[in-house]
Amino acid sequence: MLEKALVGTKRYYGLLALLAGLFALGFLFYLKQLHLGLSITGMGRDVSWGFYIAQFTYLVGVAASAVMVVLPYYLHNYKAFGRVTILGEFLAVSAVTMCILFITVDLGRPDRILNVLKYPTPNSVLFWDMVVLNGYLVLNLLIGWNVLECERHSVPPPKWLKPFIYLSIPWAVSIHTVTAFLYAGLPGRGYWLTAIMAPRFLASAFCAGPALLILLALLVRKYTKFDPGKEQIQTLAKIVTYALLINVFFFFCEVFTVFYSQIPDHMLHFQYLFAGIGGKGRLVPFMWFAIGGMTLTALFLVNPKLRKNETTLAALCGLVIITTYIDKGLGLISGGFIPNPLEQVTEYWPTVPEAIITLGVWAMGFLILTVLYKVAVSIKEEIKS
């Protein structure tokens, strides 16, 4: 089926060329990072994780959201989603690949990455992260590819695929839970040491992922002959709405616990993010925009008229993606590390090389997404004709 990705319109080739070019640029800067070390990033002794890990955290959420289309279709026979499961699964493949790439570019010694396999350490959450991410990648590729191929030949999927499909549902939840456990089990980081970390991650994942899926579905409808369907997009929009409401609710739960208990150690991180400490508050405007934006978007999405109008829906989905990205991307990491365990404030901001390498990885992810979507859409078009 890969032959479908080799032929396309001039616009398709142009997009591939642009993404390949951006990836090449990012790769060149990565070579510079291999030579000079992670000193070319903005990270330091106090904020030792930064942009790369933030992207990884966000993208694990996007990957997990594939379960939101797989579960209704395979478990509850919601036939309408038959058209979009492949889009969700291929989005998951692209997102997990980006996650693995971001972890690799963040490592100080990528040449030793196989040490995680040579010396498995079950008590380390990072070990399990590697296991579940790679497993999820294999699962989605296996399921998506096989189902698509069977659809092409008008045969039902093979029986042996069913257990894998059922497995992928809790597995999707597990990848984001394990990622949350990376943060939630560290005794020295008060901002992250909360039981609601995993639920909050899942809630923001289940609104960001389907929101991205809606935008991608609208793009697919506009530029190809395959229409994911109005009903499908509306159901996804309902999922985004509820997930976003829950996410905002979880955030207010956190704020209440921290500020009603008045424990200084926990309040400090929120103070840094939303008010700044000692004059240092780079993230303050971003955080207010993110939380305010999320709350407003949630309230707007509740209104069925705004959801049914696909233009306003697209705008609101864009807002969901931007605000959840700021909250989970910028806010989570900086908030956890600042102030440091000695209650000192060292701010973090990504450098230009760091941003270019990040862009390169995103370009590779979207390149994979374009190729896989081209295959899926072409097959769907072929079936229809």
């Binding site: 000193s39 030793r112 990455i113 040490n115």
Partner: protein, 270 residues
């Protein structure tokens, strides 16, 4: 002619995987070993659980500086704030990001956050506390390391294996005391005088105080203890007759963030 192209690729792929995997498995499962002995030196210092008592009552700025200088000298710790060569000069904020410190000083409200009060004991207000890795007995950094590059020995020391570290910095996130440093940049140009008794590090690995394990193996005291003139007491916590136990019996001591349960083994006499 029973095989079509698809079948052929399938068989070829599987054989390659088995062939490569087989070779790899063979090497993993049966690594070569050299038939020769390696034994500890007879004068090596042994303990059931190493611990340190820092007598802040006797500590002063001068002694603290001597301890830090001794440690950083014998472990080839680079200096980014005062590089040996003017051409390597860095912006102070950047040097602060790259800094590597195994032992350093900080004030009370930084060393013991949450314990401070508005009107503290007079000599506590400006005291410089000597801080280092606490060599916790229940170390979170060991728990999170995905390769066991940082591991706990039976004598309690939390060691770093620079050969295995992949530089993921999970241990840095896990440490509640800010004791760990990462090599963001090549450290060698920033070392004024290399000390041959200990290697330097390369970019991309984490490092921290190791209670001078290499000096203990030679029968010596840790470098900071040696130059501290009795301000730092080092010994076996499980040996009732050790100096550490004597001081713990005699004086009231506090530990950093003891309530977190990491069981730190550096005690401060305040």
């Amino acid at each position: 002619m029973g095989i079509d192209r698809r079948e052929f690729i399938r068989i070829a792929g599987l054989s390659t995987l088995l062939g490569l995997g087989g070779k790899g498995a063979f090497e993993l499962l049966m690594p070569g070993r050299v038939d020769a002995e390696i034994v500890p030196k007879p004068e090596a210092r042994k303990a059931k659980r190493w611990a340190m008592v820092v007598n802040q009552k006797k500590m002063d700025e001068h002694t603290a500086k001597k301890c830090i200088a001794a440690c950083h000298r014998v472990h080839n710790v680079p200096n980014f704030t005062n590089p040996p060569n003017d051409k390597l000069e860095l912006d102070p904020a950047v040097a602060n990001r790259y800094q590597i410190k195994w032992i350093w000083t900080d004030h009370f409200h930084n060393a013991f956050p949450g314990e401070e009060q508005k009107y503290p004991q007079e000599h506590l207000a400006h005291m410089n506390f000597l801080l280092l890795c606490n060599q916790c007995n229940n170390p979170p950094c060991v728990r999170v390391c995905p390769t066991k590059a940082t591991f706990q020995r039976e004598d309690g020391i939390v060691m770093m294996d620079m050969h295995r570290c992949i530089g993921c910095r999970f241990c840095m996130a896990g440490c509640p005391f800010g004791s760990r440093s990462f090599n963001w940049k090549d450290p060698r140009p920033y070392i004024k005088e290399t000390y041959p008794g200990y290697p330097t590090r390369e970019i991309g690995v984490v490092e921290k105080c190791n209670f001078c394990a290499e000096r203990l193996a030679q029968g010596l005291q840790p470098a900071c203890v040696e130059v501290s003139g009795g301000t730092l007491i080092f010994g076996d916590l499980e040996d009732e007759k050790s100096q550490v136990r004597e001081y713990l019996r005699k004086y009231f001591t506090i530990r950093r963030k003891a309530h977190l349960g990491t069981n730190p083994q550096v005690y401060y006499i305040v």
